[in-house]
């Protein structure tokens, strides 16, 4: 695989009150990889994702995306330069339709700007059409186009996850952060999800950083794994290496293997 690093986490620490959630975490994600972040509950995985996407501030350390520090960028600007994410607890626009959700992901992609869109109606209409068409293509990719006009909250959880993923893809990100994408999915749905994540990387060239507890999924689709425990990186490497690492086995896999 390509060896260019797209995202670097450098010496990031974070405390909530007296509790140290992340302690000098270092991490590099290579472009084009599917990179997993695993660890027991409370290891600080979601906090790290929140810091990368700008929802939380780290106490110190640096996040570097494509060679640029993200320190000064608020979350919506990070989305605009190509980092997007999904959530562990779905955060869909629940009262909007499926296609409207996906279209929202393209909000800042349209050509006519914020003010101009209020004035040039014809241009807006064309943009709208392009966006709608593009959204439909994305829904096709996820095999959801037949549900495009349904209200998002009425779909089963498995499909809501896919809509959230579709919405994230719509902004044409370079890096997508997935927070437990398989949570609440059955075995079959998880399998489909795994295939889709691989397709997202393959067909769209999007780098994926994901958190999940489903070891089967993680071991199967990931190129590289970082293991967090109590806010520290205890191991990293390819799935084969991680599976055999004694430290990881005691900290995390111990009960299962």
């Amino acid at each position: 695989m390509a060896s260019e690093v797209i995202l670097q986490v450098i010496n990031v620490s974070k405390s909530f009150g007296g509790l140290r959630v992340l302690n000098n975490v270092n991490l590099s994600v290579k472009k084009g990889n599917i990179h997993a972040l695993i660890g027991p509950n409370g290891a600080g995985k979601t906090t790290l994702l929140n810091i990368i996407s700008g929802l939380e501030k780290s106490d110190n350390g640096e996040i570097v995306f494509k060679g640029k520090s993200l320190r000064r960028l608020s979350s919506y600007k990070r989305a605009r330069i190509g980092i997007t994410r999904t959530f562990q607890n779905l955060e869909l626009f629940s009262d909007m339709t499926v296609i409207e959700n996906v279209m929202a992901g393209m909000y800042f992609k349209r050509e006519s700007g914020f003010i101009a869109s209020g004035l040039k109606l014809r241009k807006v209409r064309k943009d709208e059409k392009d966006i709608a068409n593009r959204s439909l293509q994305i829904l096709d990719f996820f095999e959801l186009s037949h549900k495009k006009d349904e209200i998002a909250k009425n779909l089963p959880i498995g499909e809501q996850r896919l809509v959230e993923l579709a919405r994230a893809i719509a902004s044409e990100p370079e890096l997508i952060l997935l927070d437990e994408p398989a949570a609440g999915l059955n075995i079959k749905e998880t399998k489909t999800l795994g295939i889709l994540i691989q397709k997202i990387r393959q067909d769209m060239g999007i780098t994926v950083l994901l958190i999940d507890h489903d070891m089967e999924l993680v071991m199967k689709i990931c190129d590289f794994i970082t293991v967090l425990n109590f806010g520290e990186v205890i191991a990293e490497g390819e799935p084969i290496v991680i599976q055999k690492d004694p430290k990881v086995i005691t900290a995390y896999l111990g009960e299962e293997f």
Binding site: Y76, F87, F93, M96, A104, Y107, F108, F114, G118, R167
Partner: protein, 295 residues
């Protein structure tokens, strides 16, 4: 029967303005969770500034109309920039709501300074015979008020459902965190919501002034009535405010006509207490809609 019809039409007229104010409440509430108690002042700004441009400066009607909306929009914009934006990061809703009261007092003071305490009016949009419908007399301006309100509602509906900016506003109201991560600039959306709510309030003011006159201190009562309309329909629900506004207008007019005109203002307050005690999600709302939102 004729009398009843007459009351209903006069109720629909005042109800239009309540509906517009109520929609304004909802738009701001949806993007910020704030109750903007200066909402009624925008109606007064609409009426008085229209008089200023149209009668005072003798500008053509459409020019005055446009300028008035621009002034109202500017006031909404300044209000958001100067008072809401600096506080929004703190996330103290009560503080921000109190600031909106301060803004309403300030606006009222400035309007009194400029216009004095007299009521103002200007000629109706079109002159001509009133229309007689089943014995009830309906002035042309009444039709203007109701018509313009309907047009506003239609435009807002298209805006929120058919344009990307409108959808982004809707997205913010549903899930502010996810909206941000989709690259939506939430603070721009908040600004826009203040501007839109100010402009539609002003539209109501412009339309109603030839019928009911406008004076500097009408805003407070309009805020109360508009708020009542908004909670009748369930806070945050656009269509709810429209139905709420018209219902309140008609109830007021029936009370004034059949019982006593002194009880007119009591109707809104009574309804408000009733709803807040018994159905806090609004008459049409389900309780699950009442949710606490934070930034």
């Amino acid at each position: 029967m004729t009398l009843l019809l007459q009351f209903i039409f006069s109720g629909l007229t005042t109800g239009s303005v309540y509906a517009l104010v109520g929609i304004g409440f909802n738009i701001v509430y949806n993007s910020t969770s704030i109750i903007n108690l200066a909402q009624g002042e925008f109606v007064v700004i609409g009426g008085l500034m229209m008089w200023f441009f149209f009668v005072g400066l003798k500008l053509p009607f459409l020019v005055s109309f446009t300028l008035t909306l621009a002034v109202a929009g500017l006031v909404g914009f300044l209000m958001e920039r100067l008072t809401i934006r600096p506080l929004i990061k703190k996330g103290d809703l009560l503080l921000m709501i109190m600031v909106t009261i301060a803004v309403s007092i300030l606006i009222r003071g400035l309007l009194m300074f400029k216009f004095g305490k007299d009521p103002y009016t200007y000629p109706p949009f079109t002159v001509g015979e009133p229309i007689v419908f089943l014995g009830a007399v309906i002035s042309q301006q009444t039709l203007w008020v109701i018509g313009i309100t309907c047009i506003c509602i239609a435009i807002l509906y298209l805006f929120f459902n058919k344009t990307m900016t409108g959808r982004a506003m809707k997205a913010c109201s549903l899930d502010i965190k996810a909206a941000r991560l989709m690259g939506i600039n939430v603070s721009q959306i908040v600004m826009l919501s203040f501007i839109i709510s100010a402009v539609i309030g002003a539209v109501g003011g412009i339309a109603i002034t030839p019928i009911s006159l406008m004076e500097y201190d009408k805003g407070a009562m309009l805020s109360v009535k508009g708020f009542c309309a908004a909670i009748m329909g369930g806070l945050g629900r656009g269509r709810g405010a429209v139905v709420g506004g018209f219902t309140l207008g008609i109830l007021e007019s029936l009370t004034a006509g059949y019982i006593h005109s002194g009880l007119k203002d009591a109707v809104a307050l009574f309804i408000m207490l009733f709803i807040l005690f018994l159905r806090p999600a609004g008459i049409f709302g389900r309780s699950e809609i009442m949710r606490l939102r934070k930034f």
